[in-house]
Amino acid sequence: MALLQIAEPGQSAAPHKHKLAAGIDLGTTNSLVAAVRSGQASTLKNTAGIDMIPSVVRYGPDKTQVGHEAVAAAVADASNTIFSIKRLMGKGYTETLPLAELLSYQLVDQDGMAAVATREGVKNPVEISAEILATLADTASQVLGGELNGVVITVPAYFDDAQRQATKDAAKLAGLNVLRLLNEPTAAALAYGLDSGQEGVIAVYDLGGGTFDISILRLKRGVFEVLATGGDSALGGDDFDQAIVGWLQQKSGQQQLSHSARRQYLTVARQLKEQLSADTTASYDFSADQQQFSGSLSRAEFEQLCHALVKKTLRSCRQALRDAAITPDDVASVVMVGGSTRVPLVREQVAQFFVTDPLTSIDPDKVVAIGAAIQANVLVGNKAEHETLLLDVIPLSLGLETMGGLTEKIIPRNTVIPVARAQEFTTFKDGQTAMAIHVLQGERELVEDCRSLARFELRGIPPMPAGGAHIRVTFQVDADGLLSVSAEEKSSGVAAGIQVKPSYGLTDDQVANMISGSMQHARQDMQRRLLREQQVEADRVLEAVGTALNTDANLLSEDELTQIKRALASLAQVRQQEDTAAIKTAIEHTNILTDDFAALRMDKSIRLALQGHKVDEV
């Protein structure tokens, strides 16, 4: 139980102090950071005057480079320059093998996870993404003039649990406080929604570099409700580029490409694609592997190359509309996100499908970062009252493996999060004390067609006859879409121990080791950081309990009040010193003392919320 910080309407819970927050769009191809300044959300430029940086990291001979610098060295140092790392986030090594021949760097197997061999040793996607995040956070700190209090990072709505967790781990490694992982389409709608204040059903068509997302949202009286999401986590603008690369290879007759030649082909393909958004024909002239090639590609030819890809996106749109139980004419507006929506064929097809011209007034490359910045500003506490409420859904069903390699769904896709669902299990042998549980994510019936999230082992079940033990396993998905699991044996009340082994992720210990092992965080830094974390937490507890006492001290007996006040005074004192463990203990002590108070306040606030609501009706 916890103490909730509840602000009365029109009165903020804390003395007002502007906090620094940023929204980060960590994209497959490009990344941006944005913030709200003087009430306006805009992207932030680095010292070179650029806001959009390529999501590219190069492990050079003497330093690590991120963004344009890394791209500049890409052709010469292809195997140490990492593009499109987002595609490898939260993926197993064998899953990524089909990608291997498209990548200019060497994939390796790191305990079953995909990682990259560089001259600086093996780097995993979490570490590589952390480099990009740290670079963006530096830009934000410089522009905003201080350390960031928190960030909102966007992820494709279609990202599964492992991919979300990997993104959060990367932020942790970069030393960032994540206020929320926000779905990219939701961020885009937020950017438009707050601007125009319009109501109705909105479709967000997001064709990014590596992923396609379609989200159907409803905006009504300040509530953003995600009705359905769909898409394809392995389809994006990169595939258009690959289609052109394939076409170029046909023209050149070069079937086997060296890493640097592949990079060269890709660069040419991107230029052709971009030029064809404006012109009806584009020409090329380049050399690769000691040969020279030139020619031209017409828009009609290009459209033929990517027609099937666009059709594939529309199939996902149809499915999402079906899930939302609406038809294309119910959609009031369509928001376009991602550089690839500049391709004329995409705009035409989307307009035709939804029978309405898509919105493009905000730069499709920046709209996600801008929405994230708006949400970050709200979440960090710079706004006294929340104008918008964001009700998100889980993008893929969560299930369990049952007999015969089948999946049983526990939480169906498009269920509003946060959500908790319990499932009961029983033992099938006399005296059985352990049980294995396999958690899956996906829509298909067979286990092998779904994505394995984790394997759990329940231990310490009291020995009973077969069928005697009732183990209640609770699956909880938080607002970021991340899953956690707990278990309890019901008849004995024994909490069964759970051992979690993520199928495609890092354990908490591994993340901690990476943080302490990385060059930037020497041992002393690590300890400072842990101390700082506890101090921040202590401040939050002091503030929350203080506010609660101001409004609701009358719910407590004289004795309880004295005890709580004493605990607060001692916590405030310990917080000033540098003993991490002592601060932690003082926080826990305060938490235990205020548990009942928290429950009372919770009941009171439910009544108040409903009462206020009834007053509204009169």
Binding site: G150, L179, A420, A544, L608, G612, H613
Partner: protein
């Protein structure tokens, strides 16, 4: 947990869904984790649990079948996870006939008309059963509660058939 109490609504089968919806949003506004992004760890955890509860409660009250199950569970009749087979031969016969009709859709000359026909039948059956269910629950006597549980079990079959019909419709459209 009594979901009706959470929303401060009377525990009845007939429910004003608009009212339920706006109460749900009022609670969400108060407890959604986004309100606690900068709060202490414990407060954040509690907010997640509380909103999960609110979501679950709303989900359960919104749909008539789940609402009936919840009401019956409050009266001590738990039927949500039971394994039970039917003994009512008339009902079983009817189910088999409907299932055959479903299977025949894809091979019929006019699949759209066939879908419509089955849909109408299903709707009629559902309506009738729901009406009986409402009456049985309102009576709130031991015998009627048992009868209500039986009606819920039957309705589940009809909702399952409806779902299968939708899948067939999708396949034909694609």
């Amino acid at each position: 947990m009594n979901y009706f109490q959470l929303f401060d609504l009377p525990a009845t089968f007939e429910l004003d869904l608009t009212e339920l919806g706006s109460r749900y949003l009022a609670l969400q506004r108060q407890f959604h984790p986004d309100n606690f992004a900068a709060a202490s760890n414990r407060d954040r955890l509690m907010s997640v649990q509380q909103t999960a509860n609110i979501n679950d409660a709303y989900h359960s009250l919104k749909q008539p079948l789940l609402r009936a199950e919840h009401l019956l569970a409050l009266r001590g009749l738990k039927i949500s996870h039971e394994q039970r087979s039917f003994t009512d031969p008339v009902f079983l016969m009817q189910q088999m006939e409907l299932r055959e009709q479903l299977e025949d859709i894809s091979s019929s000359n006019d699949p759209d008309a066939a879908i419509m026909a089955v849909e109408q039948q299903l709707q009629q059956h559902r309506k009738g059963l729901l009406r009986q269910l409402a009456a049985a629950i309102a009576a709130n006597m031991p015998d009627q509660n048992q009868q209500a549980a039986e009606l819920v079990r039957k309705l589940k079959f009809f909702f399952k058939l409806q779902h299968e019909l939708e899948l067939i419709e999708q396949k034909i459209q694609d």
